[in-house]
Symmetry: C2
Subunit: 150 residues, 2 copies
């Protein structure tokens, strides 16, 4: 396991990225069955007539896959990645066979005023497909412990 | 199926809510294994020593479950619920055995300037637990077709 990172170890502008990962039709449908059961996420034939003209991944699936990459390959924050909030923009559809990759950058590191033992770190992540096109922008605020209380 | 709704059918202030639904330890772990594999979402014993003092649902799981309720019990928008973006705040942890319910309200209905065939509708949804406490606020922007082009 990589060395654990504390608030004091993080700086604005730090960048990190994931390995590429494929999105299959099976994975798209499995997520949709549990969490977003709409025809354009579940069935190629029904999807062909819909808004997207074919099967596409739920935006929430893309968000969840982006989170998975954070956990497996992102910043090894002490105590884990604890989200306070997030903002999502879905710019393009993700289709079966697409290969995605997450490119992240720290936007802000803000010490807590009320709690000297922690701070909030804001990370902007672009999830791009195999053509380099951005399919999702996710901005996440995480709670990060300080190595030494302020 | 309920009658399909178009942009022209929706108004600011319209409210809707879901039935209550339970969140089990099994469901928390299943989501986490696929999308947010951190100890406090996967294992009661490991979670006991962590930030939350016990097993908690991933915030992304709460978001996905909220989306599921939108699809099953939310607005039956013509063509489906197509998200352009979303904002999330996670205010409290969701624990095994909690029962959640989603309370939603339309905040804004904005016709598209560039595309006369659609508009954007902004919905604010509070996901509350069995104590009435808000665990998540989700604000979603969806793309909704017009019945008649503007």
């Amino acid at each position: 396991m990589a060395q654990e990172l504390y608030f004091d170890d993080l700086d604005v502008g730090r960048r990190f990225e994931s390995e590429p990962f494929a999105v299959t039709a099976e994975a798209i449908k499995a997520f949709a069955e549990s969490y977003d059961p709409q025809p354009f996420h579940l069935d190629e034939n029904a999807a062909a007539d819909g808004f997207f003209g074919g099967l596409v991944a739920s935006g929430w699936h893309v968000a969840a896959l982006t989170m998975r990459r954070f956990v497996l390959e992102g910043l090894p924050v002490a105590g884990g990645l604890i989200g306070a909030g997030a903002e999502l923009q879905w710019l393009r559809a993700t289709r079966p066979g697409d290969t995605l990759r997450v490119f992240s950058e720290i936007l802000e590191c803000r010490p807590s005023r009320s709690r000297p033992t922690r701070g909030t770190v804001t990370i902007r992540s672009e999830t791009r497909n195999q053509h380099g096109a951005v399919v999702q922008v996710m901005t996440t605020r995480i709670v990060v412990p300080r190595r030494e209380p302020a």
